[in-house]
């Protein structure tokens, strides 16, 4: 991080503290878990399925299970060997679909190449799709007048960061850098959404910039809100940022750093020290979007549980 700017007409950005916002939301979730337990005598349950032992995935899964425990959410775990068959994995999903104590099912991605990822994701019950990756949930997110049962965790976390930082969205120009299924595409829909009653009314004018866009810098420079999710270390430089813009940096890219024991450190898709001199709001990496993703997963699990408990209580 560079020293604060000395130019009086260029104050540095307000840093959006994702850790603090996530902590505050987790307290709200813990309260709701208690309230559900008091009202219905049951707690929300999340099943996390891990295939293989690839380092990052195992770490993420451990963090998810710990977060559940911290909040009183029951955690179900299945760790499968990296050479598990597609049929055996489908069986695990089917069992969790049928398990009444499980309200959310998460199969950690990526899966080994011999497994058809689409087939696995489509097998997760719509009512337990806490990752929001089922096409019918994505379709409902894209369509006016529909509300998805679940919205993907990282995109939902980006919107929460904007909302809780007091960033106005309606009528603004937003640019999403990246068009992935898990961040770019759903975050574009959330920013444009006009009728997601329980989530947000956004109404931004959204442009999606991607690897085939010739003039990415010029388009980003028009954005009042810039969400960077393209997986390129520090691609977004200071002069890509419109003065005063809100910048949400979803990237986590390892770059060599001899001063670290690991030999690397994580940076975002945005050159933070340059961008914070121009932005009005900016998320750091780490400590920005990262802590929100798991928090939204917990929030989705509690939403799923509440719907199930309410339905059961209504005798449906």
């Amino acid at each position: 991080m560079s020293a604060a700017s000395t130019q009086i007409d260029s104050p540095t950005a307000q840093i959006i503290n994702g850790k603090a916002i996530a902590d505050s939301i987790r307290k709200e979730i813990a309260d709701e878990v208690k309230a559900l337990q008091e009202k219905y005598g049951k707690v929300p349950g999340l099943a996390v399925v891990l295939v293989g032992t690839k380092g990052d995935s195992a770490t993420y899964v451990r963090m998810k299970r710990k977060a559940c425990a911290d909040l009183g959410i029951q955690s179900f775990s299945t760790d499968l060997p990296g050479d598990v068959s597609e049929e055996d994995l489908l069986k695990v999903v089917a069992d969790y679909n049928a398990n009444e104590e499980v309200h959310g099912i998460l199969v950690q991605l990526p899966l080994p190449k011999h497994i058809d990822e689409q087939r696995i994701l489509d097998a997760i019950s719509l009512e337990k799709d806490v990752d929001g990756f089922h096409p019918a949930n994505i379709g409902a997110l894209a369509m006016r007048g529909r509300t998805p049962l679940f919205t993907s965790c990282t995109p939902k976390g980006c919107l929460e960061l904007l909302k809780r930082s007091g960033v106005a969205i309606s009528g603004k120009r937003a640019v999403v850098l990246g068009r992935s299924n898990i961040v770019g595409m759903p975050v574009a829909h959330l920013l444009q959404a006009c009728a997601l009653p329980f989530i947000i009314i956004s109404d931004a004018t959204v442009t999606v910039v991607h690897s085939r866009t010739p003039d990415a810098r010029a388009i980003c420079a028009e954005a009042d809100i810039l969400v960077a999710a393209i997986g390129q270390a520090e691609m977004v430089r200071g002069d890509w940022i419109k003065p005063g813009a809100a910048v949400i940096d979803v990237g986590t890219n390892p770059i060599p750093d001899a001063s670290k024991k690991s030999g690397y450190r994580l940076v975002g898709d945005v050159a933070f020290s340059e961008a914070k001199e121009r932005a009005g709001f900016i998320t750091p990496v780490p400590g920005g979007v990262g802590p929100m993703t798991i928090t939204m997963l917990l929030s989705n699990t509690v939403d799923g549980a509440r719907r199930t408990f309410e339905k059961a209580a209504a005798g449906q």
Copy 2:
């Protein structure tokens, strides 16, 4: 239509003749219907359900049935009274879902207010959703690496007009004016699509402009490709058009015209006489997008039939 421009440096646009392009595609479809009949001994079938007798809907339905007959597609019709119950309408859909001679089901929209449109559309079998309005088909359209079984007819028609007019899409700036479920949103996904193997590789950089966009004119003026689908008569003026841009006008708005027997005439969302002086390509209204919509419906029906015949032949 105004007189041709007299400025030598401002030639008028190439008019995209939707009628001629649609006729040529219909010939291809008729050939395919014959080929399917020869190979499998069966023809594609389309069921069209009309509720009530509202003028426009009845006209569209008549046109769809006639188009089927012209091409050798078997047409199934159900006309229901405007006060039909939701349950009775669902029963009609269920019967067509089960009917092996029907490969596409179209329930003409809008439906009367006492009927839950979402419930009806979701009841249509995914494999027969020739309108492409089912959330799972919309989700597959929005997601990279997925291919929807069907793509909505008007958006698909817009892309065909661009493709068959030789308009390059990859790397271009595209602006979609309007964010409806039936045109704006899906056409934005088609223009941005990077991996719809059997449809198109588009790769445009897309901005969706809507009723809450403060500076619609300025954003449209940056578009190499402009698709207007906002339902406002002649909202897009000449100075909204980037010189040389391709303009696809989806609007059909009635405006008073004393010289017509009906007392009105149809105009698009684009002020045609002004826009054609700046655009490189432009669709007229009528005779542009209109003839493509029914043609794409026929094309989707044949696609659905081919998939069914192939599956049956493979013993699936």
